[in-house]
């Protein structure tokens, strides 16, 4: 019953997103399981022990969308899934703001979990976004996180 043409939605936007609305889009095929990941802006940089007042996200228009699409196609080749939505915000965001949504629907809940987890890991390491964190004293370009690279190891075939 899984449609041959899967539902794919990719949005790079300044606006916030509504998790309920996005979940409904992923439920369109009466599919049993939806797994959502929602990333939220933190108010504290633990590594450098600094408060974060806001952060600004920039990206590489065109490349971002095509990289995310490659990740989703790879996901479809690995698991039987019926829908994927990726929404990533750009521009200025404040602590507690939602920053990223990845939702995957499938007949089988484990596929939905694995697909969502897989997309998040690859998004973190391949999608061309850059964050700069700001407080009253300075701005600080966020460095690549080594644990994100390690996270990819679990998807080696």
């Amino acid at each position: 019953m899984t449609p041959k043409t899967p539902l794919i939605k990719i949005k790079i936007q300044k606006e916030n997103f509504d998790v309920s609305e996005e979940t409904k889009v992923l439920q369109q095929n009466n599919i049993g399981a939806v797994v959502n990941f929602v990333g939220v802006v933190r108010g504290y940089d633990e590594k450098n022990s600094q408060i974060i007042n806001s952060m600004t996200l920039e990206h590489y228009p065109g490349m971002t969308e095509s990289e995310i699409e490659k990740i989703i196609v790879d996901c479809y080749n690995r698991w039987e899934i019926s829908g994927v939505t990726v929404i990533h915000r750009i521009g200025n965001l404040k602590p507690a703001d939602q920053i990223v949504f990845v939702g995957v629907s499938s007949k089988h809940r484990q596929n939905a979990f694995d697909g969502c987890n897989f997309i998040m890991d690859w998004l973190k390491t391949n999608a061309p976004f850059w964050k700069v964190e700001e407080n009253n004293f300075k701005k600080n370009w966020v460095c690549f996180n080594d644990s994100d690279k390690k996270a990819l190891k679990k998807w080696k075939k």
Binding site: L57, M63, H88, A127, D148
Partner: protein
Amino acid sequence: MIIKYFSWIKEHVGKSEEEIILPNHINNVDQLINYLNKLDKKYNIIFEKKELIKIAVNKTYSSFDKNINNSDEIAFFPPVTGG
């Protein structure tokens, strides 16, 4: 050729994008980097540690030995930090 810069690399170069005429003898990304390094010393700090730089040619991740020509779009940026 359009060259794009992102994140702190953009701030070092002082612009997000520039257009250059690629000299005929430059055939790959490595050669382009050498060319830019000689053009202006502002590029030196960026390309000093090449292993910290990511490259895209026509919006696809590429290696330093990737062949390029004047109609390509090249981007230099640090490792990504989205999500």
